[in-house]
Amino acid sequence: MRKKKHVTSVEIRSFGPRTNFVFNVILAILALSCIVPFFFMIVLSFTQESDITMYGYQFWPKHWTVASYEYLSKMGGQLLKSLGVSIFITVIGTLMNSLFSSTYAYAISRRDFAFSRFFTIFALISMLFTPGMVPTYLVVTQMLGLKDNIWALILPACFGVYNVLIMRTYFKTSIPEAILESARMDGAGELKIFADIVVPLAIPGIATISLFTCLGYWNDWFNAMLYMTNDNLIPLQYLLVKIQNNIQFMSQQMSAGGSTLASGTVLPSEGMRFAVVVIATLPIALTYPFFQKYFVKGMTVGGVKE
């Protein structure tokens, strides 16, 4: 029954076969152009270091090597730890952000909320100004005392005004007032209405903001740079940025005549950087289909309910 419904809805909203083919070709080319750089990174991660210096960055190197991955496997412990940290902050952060942003958005989207205007503007002002790095640093390290604490990577992004606005628009346009009214008639409390009716209807919206938040948490390294000195608590992206910055710094030191200054530091190779890019990108990119499922699912649910 459900499956049949799904199929018909697909057909209703689809292109004709010829248009469909043309757009498929266009999208395939576009998708290919997006995936090529990633393949390039994979190739570079297998390229011998001196090849890069002598011949530049090539799509097909003269000498192949697995040295970068050998090196990474040696620091395997750190890599796994960082992967764990990344996953932890991404999952927890995304759940918190989606929850807090949705509840806030729902409240300000309701016309019967007496302070809706106040809280809308209260949130909007924060989009126009930036508090600046130094005072935020003070809040996190001194007011909240979160130096070297994993919550310093989660809390600064556990609510998003962008998400609130997207959800507010979603609630306003996609949730018919009539359904809520009838539930109220039946005597359901506001919290119950929110939990049992609003949230299921809003799943595509929630999936969208969760995806955005999730990508944001995964890509964030700046907070780690500011607040973490403990190697056990640094996420994968920061590990990557560190390697990258190290390379940049060393090469600049070298051209400024200070080749001996950095003795004592392990020199990361260019290949290693690309190997880490590969490792840091694959897992998160492959979570996309999981979110996409909810975009489609939400639609069918919405269809049934109305």
Binding site: S50, F88, N245, S251, S255
Partner: protein, 488 residues
């Protein structure tokens, strides 16, 4: 459709556990401090792999003299250090010790604790062991705000050649003493092996005049004469000497000796690889000629020919400085840690060489001779130039007594630069310097790597510098320099 509720409940559970875990974690780190005063020390670099053992040994040594102090080193990657340091400094973070960046500017702003009395009171021993030139170099507005690491008090810039290629193509470099005299060697090598970078330089490279100091750093054009003959503050790029060097580099660029993408390149020409024929390096007395360089390259042979004069300069005096935060709660203890690092051989050598018995062993304890083991690998020690007084360092058994005597001799003989101690106050020039930096960012790389034709480019640059306020800054610097020379 109650799935999301389950998600919520499990989130709450995870949150709870996580909070508990972090709470426990915090407690643990607290208890390890005990009743001792923890001195935090921020520095650039990666945490050594043997840090746990290293700091344990260090603290044991420190506590023989100061039983109540516990040192804790915090490492921030080389590439991020400057950024994080700036945030810490600006926010008034109560760190105890930090490896300074932009020392003069920050000291002028007043972000550091005044060390003038502290150093003499709590670190007398270490203070006396430092070459007086350093104390001149770190004096800002008449006060000392940082503790310098006594190491290469003078340095020369030289062209380092890859011995492998010198031998292979039988290239003679005996006459090299300037940029101009490089031509025959470069021409020969480029003809033999055009695929390898003849002069391996890239973004950030600066041409080195024979005897000049840059009071605001070499990112800005203001220079003074180290020899002291000329008492003017001038634009280095307007001098015939620099113009000639830049013209030479431009010719080398056109001939293909310098990589075509040098102005934007961050290619790593690793010391130990044969991807380069020559490069520019800075060397000082504690490098024992090419020994330090060869060590850093894992034994690869190289030869360096100097192209600048040795001066005890402002720039060298400020290579590595440690400062105490104005907001630190343990200024006295921080000073005492510096005292130990700059006076205690056992402490310093067990950091700079790695751990005795693991990374190195004594060959002659009385003379302070050591031999490194196979475990002496990057990641197991911290660079000596930034940690503590280099006079205290043990030397490898390959360094002869003659070399050491030579080092002492050289340091004694080196002249002080005329500008040693000249740390201009720029607080009134903020707007101009900001705009001058912006102008220079357009021209520094293309000029210094020889990419651009110097004559017309400098003319254009000078015009832009003028509108950005060059004259005002020059006049102010000149005034301060005159004053400085008068009081010297």
């Amino acid at each position: 459709m109650k799935k999301w509720k389950k998600i919520l409940v499990s989130t709450a559970a995870v949150l709870g556990v996580a909070t508990l875990a972090t709470a426990c974690g915090n407690k643990k780190s607290d208890s390890s401090g005990g009743s001792k005063t923890v001195v935090s020390m921020y520095m650039p670099g990666d945490k050594p792999k043997n840090y746990a053992d290293m700091i344990k040994r260090a603290n044991k040594e420190i506590q023989t003299k100061y039983p109540n102090i516990e040192l804790s080193m915090k490492f921030i990657g080389w590439g991020e250090y400057n950024q994080k340091y700036n945030v810490m400094v600006t926010s008034g973070d109560p760190y105890d010790l930090a490896f300074t960046q932009n020392y003069v500017a920050n000291a002028g702003k007043g972000v550091y604790a005044d060390m003038t009395d502290l150093a003499k009171k709590y670190a007398k021993e270490a203070y006396d062991k430092v070459d007086p030139a350093y104390w001149k170099g770190v004096t800002v507005n008449g006060k000392i705000y940082g503790f310098p690491i006594n190491a290469n008090v003078f340095a020369i810039n030289g062209i380092t050649f890859n011995k492998y290629y010198l031998d292979k193509y039988n290239i003679d470099i005996s006459k090299v003493d300037s940029y101009q005299s490089l031509e025959p060697a470069f021409a020969k090598f480029h003809k033999e092996n055009p695929g390898v970078a003849t002069f391996a330089i890239g973004q950030g490279y600066k041409v080195s005049p024979r005897a000049m100091e840059f009071p605001l750093g070499n990112g800005l054009p203001f220079a003074v004469d180290s020899s002291g003959k000329n008492k003017k503050v001038f634009n280095a790029y307007d001098t015939p000497e620099v113009k000639k060097d830049l013209e030479t580099l431009h010719q080398y660029y056109l001939k293909g000796y310098i990589p075509k993408d040098a102005a934007t390149s961050s290619t790593q020409y690793n010391l130990n690889e044969n991807t380069w024929f020559s490069r520019q390096e800075t060397q000082g007395p504690f490098d024992y000629g090419d020994t330090a360089l060869i060590n850093a390259a894992g034994g690869k042979k190289m030869i360096t020919k100097p192209i600048t004069d040795p001066y005890k300069s402002q720039a060298q005096a400020q290579v590595a400085i440690w400062a105490i935060s104005k907001t630190s709660k343990h200024k006295k203890e921080a000073m005492q840690v510096l005292n130990m690092l700059n006076s205690d051989k056992k402490l310093l050598n067990n950091i700079v060489w790695g751990l005795e018995g693991q990374q190195w062993n004594f060959t002659d304890k009385a003379k302070g001779k050591i031999k490194t083991t196979k475990k002496y690998q990057p990641g197991y020690f911290i660079g000596g130039w930034m940690m503590g007084n280099n006079d205290l360092l043990y030397t490898q058994d390959t360094i002869t007594q003659k070399q050491i005597d030579q080092r002492k001799e050289n340091i004694k003989d080196a002249k002080e630069s005329a500008a040693l101690g000249f740390s201009p106050d720029t607080t009134k020039l903020k707007t101009e310097i900001t705009n001058l930096s912006n102008v220079m960012s357009k021209y520094l790389d293309i000029l210094n790597t020889g990419t651009a034709d110097p004559e017309p480019t400098i003319k254009k640059m000078d015009a832009e510098l003028k509108t950005a306020g060059y004259d005002k800054v020059q006049a102010e610097l000149q005034k301060q320099y005159d004053e400085f020379l008068k009081n010297k």
